[in-house]
Symmetry: C2
Subunit: 149 residues, 2 copies
Amino acid sequence: MKLYFEDFKPGPFGSFGPHHVSRDDIIAFATEFDPQPMHLDEEAAKRSMLNGLSGSGWHMCSLLMRICWDGFIHRIASAGAPGVDEVKWVSPLRPGDDLTVEVEVISTRESKSRPDVGFVNISNVVRNASGVTLMTAALPLMVLRRVPG
Amino acid sequence: MKLYFEDFKPGPFGSFGPHHVSRDDIIAFATEFDPQPMHLDEEAAKRSMLNGLSGSGWHMCSLLMRICWDGFIHRIASAGAPGVDEVKWVSPLRPGDDLTVEVEVISTRESKSRPDVGFVNISNVVRNASGVTLMTAALPLMVLRRVPG
């Protein structure tokens, strides 16, 4: 059963995950996209400001997408996404972390230019298994309306 | 020679890339992080609103990081990055695209809480080889000051 624009109301939406992140995952992502020494090499990471191997912030963004896809986005009558409103990298991603994402619907509005589409603005809090917030993100989604205006 | 906070002034900063993106790259990223059919399967993609296989927006974000790392971030006396101010996905990433990134320094300011650090706010325009804008992004960087305040 697909989720349409009308199915989203401001308020808590759900919690998704956990999704396990290994040391190999962190190093593979960093090798391809963000080869800073603190994301690649344990010894360099110990000397860095983050005091130990940490994952790329962009890796966390990509994992947020995956956790949300598995959790609910695969069920959305999606009309795409225009971008990202804001991301804050709060605490480092560590090898072995099990990530959960708490999703809240902040606001919804019908598109002015497309009567078949609405915008759903969600906030996401990414936490590790200890409940520490690693990242927050505000994302606009475009979702088909069940009943076009 | 490292780039310090004092080396960044508002105005055009540079153009970086090109960075080639293959069909395999697009499918590999999507398989791991954003398995929407339009990023994975040519036939499903033809039926999608983007009318052909396209890369994940998060893949473009990750490629932006890589192109900027190769281009100049590896030379920065970095103090990290607090997050992402805004990303707009303007046009789809396609198999075979060669991406360039144009970087402009929008503003700089010294940190109020850390006398050794300043913030450098950059804007990024990601284009394909035809000059079409695929993505824009506004990113704050934290950079060490050559002369702490």
